[in-house]
Symmetry: C2
Subunit: 348 residues, 2 copies
């Protein structure tokens, strides 16, 4: 059997099963009083380090650890993602994973797979983008690796740090509301513009393209959610439908999404009136946060978020990972399979 | 200009320069009292976390962070490196980096770039190798990423932990002796056997092939070196000539290597009598440790190492990174360029 037959979920489940069942212990870390608090399968791994570094706050310090890769021709093309944007985005996706746990990004390693013919000036542009987002988000690139490769790929490994308990994917319970902390679909709309060859200059087109080219991970929002007592969250990187499905699988629940409550920027609605819902559900790379909690809690938390958040659905008892889109008239359609399976055709 | 024109060292220097000169601070880490102790350019990055976790030992705890990548057709072929070995080796190269600082490996993330046609059974073999080495060395795989890619690549990001000051590349001083902690060239000899199609079964051939297929990073040796007060070390991954050159560049010194003192296993000498010195200098993937220090210190430390170590050269005032091979008669030849430049032809 090949991995394309098993599918991304199947392969991930298989490998995570091997890793967790055959592990004889993280002995070295434990001998330093490190304690693994979030294992395989979440936006980041996490461990508590048993030190307290902020006066008056006795919650444990957790370190976070995540990695994300972009491959040319699979995750990006240099036509729609120039080198400087690639630098920004390769870090942004990792920062967003740290944000989704409620942490701050700290140290990054950058691995570049490059053809020998890569222009040095392109690498300089790549690093310009990396330095911009690193400095803006307060992290330091502290090393990496560079290898020859027939295709360009960029892998970033990022650590994070936080005081308190990381938010995880496994805590959603039936009856919880589902909220997202920003607009959906803008990045997908920007990509669609570029793929259609629309290079027009307008506030609308510029906004959509910028959303795709320079997404802004919600680190401060993640911290606010942790402080407010939210315990279940993830980031929306592959599209709400797909990401919510992952969260629901991890929590053993299903969910409804309310199609008429999806937060979309007016520019997305105006430019793509027919496609905006699809883009909001499956466009990906929005890097807003998705969180769940009991209704009173969620509504209270939303009222305290400077940028607000939108309730977009509810958690239900049901087949784990099953997502149903419910429109304003109550008509239901499956919404789980619109996202991104790395090993299957997009429309499989 | 393309990166193959600038060369690996040139590109690395350029990018490290950008990262360190344009960095506005690792603000988040510092707000948790983390302090970067080893920056770009060493075997791992390191930071102290300001906690003390072992009774009676007030040295700071440092965390280490490294990453290493293997690309099919560049670093390995599936003919000479079966999937299970690939799993072992992809972690071994990272564990060796941690060992070279004097640390213990703690947590790993595994990124797989895979064609959709990859057999699931091959992935299971890969993870069998990964679990073997993880369990043996006391680390835990805590997550990763999986992406579609036209070529197989494996990137491991690994953290480590240690009490005390990490050994670095920058401390070599003229007059220091250079020692290596194990045999050189065995892995290169095993690869050479396989490339020559020699599949004979003998103690000699089995030893050489095993050296290539299942290298054993020297974590315990690295700890012993730190305890003994050694402050300058790295691992021998690309070949002694190339790695020593990197250490000397980092320290601003040059070095002589004594050709007649290179420690080689009798099986390597007997199987490759004409090539063994070249294999010892440039074969790579031996994963022994290389360290330097004042003569009395080095000799004392060697006497306390259970497996011993061999003095193979001396540090000199001279062009940084220049390595000269000196034979038993005192004849000198340049030895620095036999190693591995990822972006230039091997014989450039």
């Amino acid at each position: 059997m090949q991995i394309k037959d098993l599918g991304e979920f199947g392969v991930i489940d298989l490998l995570a099963g091997i890793v967790m069942s055959q592990r004889s212990g993280s002995g070295n870390a434990r001998s330093f009083s490190f304690n693994l608090t979030v294992d395989n399968g979440d936006d980041t791994a996490a461990w508590s380090i048993g030190s307290q570094s902020r006066p008056g706050d006795d919650r444990p310090v957790n370190e976070l650890f995540t990695t994300d890769t972009m491959v040319e021709g699979v995750h990006f093309t240099l036509e729609t993602t120039p080198w400087q944007d690639l630098g920004w985005k390769s870090l942004a996706s990792n920062i967003s994973d740290v944000a989704s746990m409620g942490g701050l990004p700290s140290y990054a390693l950058v691995t570049l797979g490059l053809p020998s013919e890569t222009e040095v000036s392109h690498l300089e542009s790549l690093y310009t983008g990396m330095m911009e987002i690193s400095n803006e988000y307060g992290l330091a690139i502290v090393g990496g690796d560079m290898v020859r490769s027939p295709v360009v790929f960029i892998t970033v490994a990022l650590t994070g740090v936080m005081q308190g308990r990381p938010m995880v994917r496994t805590g959603a319970r039936p009856g919880d509301l589902i909220a997202v902390t920003g607009h959906l679909g803008s990045s997908g709309g920007g990509l669609k513009l570029m793929l259609e060859g629309d290079s027009s200059q307008s506030d609308e087109a510029d906004f959509l393209r910028d959303s795709h080219r320079s997404p802004r991970p919600e680190v401060a929002v993640g911290q606010t959610l942790v402080e407010a007592g939210i315990t279940t969250a993830m980031d929306v990187s592959d599209g709400l439908g797909d990401d919510l499905s992952k969260l629901c699988r991890a929590s053993g629940v299903s969910a409804n999404i309310f199609a008429d409550r999806l937060p979309m920027h007016p520019f997305l609605r105006s430019r793509f009136p027919d496609d905006c819902v699809d883009l909001a559900l499956g466009g990906g790379e929005d890097y807003v946060l998705l969180f769940t909690g009991q209704p009173a809690k969620v509504n209270h938390v939303i009222s305290g978020l400077p940028g607000g958040a939108a309730v977009v659905g509810e958690i239900l008892v049901g087949e784990p990972g099953k997502i149903t889109l419910v429109d304003a008239e109550g008509a239901e359609t499956p919404a789980g399979s619109r996202g991104w399976d790395h090993f299957r055709p997009a429309k499989d």
